[in-house]
């Protein structure tokens, strides 16, 4: 099939970007979305043009690097998938596909479709850990964890840090990401002790880095490829408030 692409091209962090149109012929429905972009880049390279820069790594939905805003939605038109899991079967011959990077003050564009998401690492460094040395793997049954808690912690732990929540949010808030991390640790005995302090520290970092505040629109939950629930944001708020005026 033939596809019209409108792709954001930007030389570097300081330069002005703009959309460039490409007519891509010979796209197969069997391709993944990223294979379609590989196909485009191959043609660009053959013509001596600069290939489109985009991030990817695992290509199986677990690393969170493939961050593309496709036709007005993070990770494209399909629900609960990352860009790398998106298939060209979701598009038709003659379609126009608009591809942009994540846009947020805290995620500045480095080049073309790549936005710098180091801000997430900085939030993690502010408190997304357990501060005692946990040593080697403990005997599995020495600290019993109730089944529901383990399941809920796991539901939060599947966050891959892709940033689609920030990209989708009208306030560019990172609440769903922070909530996933805080929730994951707060639900487990090892992380429980520090959970109030952790919520405070990570949220302070989030604010400091220029992410917006949450207005509970729910766009993040709807766009998260891992289905992280708003309930985790409620827990994050709870942990924050329980810490009270202590810190």
């Amino acid at each position: 099939m033939d596809i019209k692409l409108k792709i954001w091209r930007q030389e570097g962090p300081k330069s002005e970007g703009s959309f460039v149109d490409y007519n891509l012929t010979g796209v197969s429905k069997d391709m993944s979305f990223l294979e379609m972009l590989d196909f485009l880049n191959k043609k660009l390279i053959e013509n001596g043009d600069d290939p489109v820069v985009f991030e990817h790594d695992c290509r199986e939905g677990i690393c969170g690097s493939c961050a593309l805003f496709i036709n007005g939605r993070p990770h494209g038109p399909d629900d609960l998938v990352t860009t790398c899991e998106l298939r060209m079967t979701k598009f038709n011959d003659g379609d126009t596909i608009v591809i942009e990077p994540w846009r947020a003050k805290s995620f500045p564009v480095i080049k073309d479709l790549v936005a710098d998401r180091h801000a997430f690492d900085k939030i993690m460094e502010a408190g997304g850990f357990i501060s005692v040395n946990t040593g080697s793997a403990p005997e599995a049954n020495s600290i019993p964890v109730p089944r529901e808690k383990a399941d809920e912690a796991f539901d939060a732990a599947v966050c891959i840090g892709c940033g689609a929540c920030v990209a989708a949010c009208k306030n560019s808030s990172a609440m769903l990401f922070v909530a996933a991390k805080v929730s994951h640790l707060a639900l487990l005995p090892q992380g429980r002790a520090e959970s109030g302090k952790r919520a405070r520290a990570m949220l302070a970092k989030m604010d400091e880095l220029g992410f917006g505040s949450c207005t509970n629109t729910g766009a993040c939950e709807a766009e998260c490829p891992k289905g992280i629930s708003l309930a985790h944001i409620a827990r994050l708020n709870r942990e924050f408030l329980k810490e009270g005026f202590r810190s």
């Binding site: 989708a168 629109t217 729910g218 708003l230 944001i233 708020n237 924050f240 408030l241």
Partner: protein
């Protein structure tokens, strides 16, 4: 203290509790207003009770403070959020992922504020600082608020403004009710659904209740 109020979630906490306070106030306000439908004496006595009750007197400044806090802090957060995406998307599709009221709380709040200014200058100011005739029931002198209010509601465009105010309020509550609990952390996957339903019903009762009063009096002029 400072780490609490400097955090966006701490500030949202203020918006949330002041919002819940205002939500409660709306129910009380509506209950009193509904006496309008019961006739002149019933409403005037209810209004008199509210104006002279010491508990209500204490609540008046608290209410003003609640409004102020809700408006100032949410305006501040809204302005801060405006700067978080300097380069906009060329194409963005949010219709499927979030509700219209949830994305337009500030605009709705602003419309309600304009309505409120008009509303206060029409009724509250006059009742508070004179200009309302007195009427006597069983030897007690009370303000004839009934005549003041119904005198306005029979004017069609006044009635229309009040119905519009109720519609804005409904949309604001549709998101605000559920959102207030979410911010306080009083929600989970199950309660999120329940609160959304309760909020939807509450918003409808409040809006329909407030809207029915001007419609009732306006309709009355056609029937007479």
């Amino acid at each position: 203290m400072s780490s609490f109020l400097n955090a966006s979630v701490g500030r949202k906490f203020l918006v949330s509790i002041s919002g819940l306070f205002l939500i409660t106030f709306l129910a009380v306000h509506l209950a009193v207003n509904l006496f309008l439908l019961a006739g002149q004496e019933a409403y005037n006595m209810a209004a008199h009770f509210m104006a002279t009750n010491p508990a209500i007197k204490i609540m008046e400044p608290a209410l003003a403070l609640g409004f102020l806090l809700h408006i100032v802090v949410s305006a501040y957060l809204t302005v801060t959020n405006q700067g978080t995406r300097p380069q906009k998307y060329s194409m963005v599709d949010q219709r499927k992922t979030s509700s219209w009221p949830s994305r337009n709380m500030f605009v709705l709040g602003l419309l309600i504020l304009i309505f409120l200014a008009l509303h206060l200058s029409n009724f509250w100011y006059k009742m508070k600082f004179g200009g309302v005739a007195y009427i006597e029931y069983d030897g007690v002198q009370v303000q004839d608020a009934y005549t003041l209010v119904t005198g306005k509601f029979v004017i069609w465009w006044y009635a229309l403004i009040y119905v519009a105010g109720a519609v804005f309020l409904r949309l604001h509550l549709l998101h605000g009710f559920q959102s207030a609990f979410q911010t306080l952390g009083l929600s989970n996957q199950l309660w999120y659904k329940r609160l959304t339903v309760i909020g939807t019903v509450y918003a409808l009762i409040i809006a329909a209740g407030f809207a029915i009063i001007p419609v009732w009096f306006l309709a009355g002029t056609f029937l007479n």
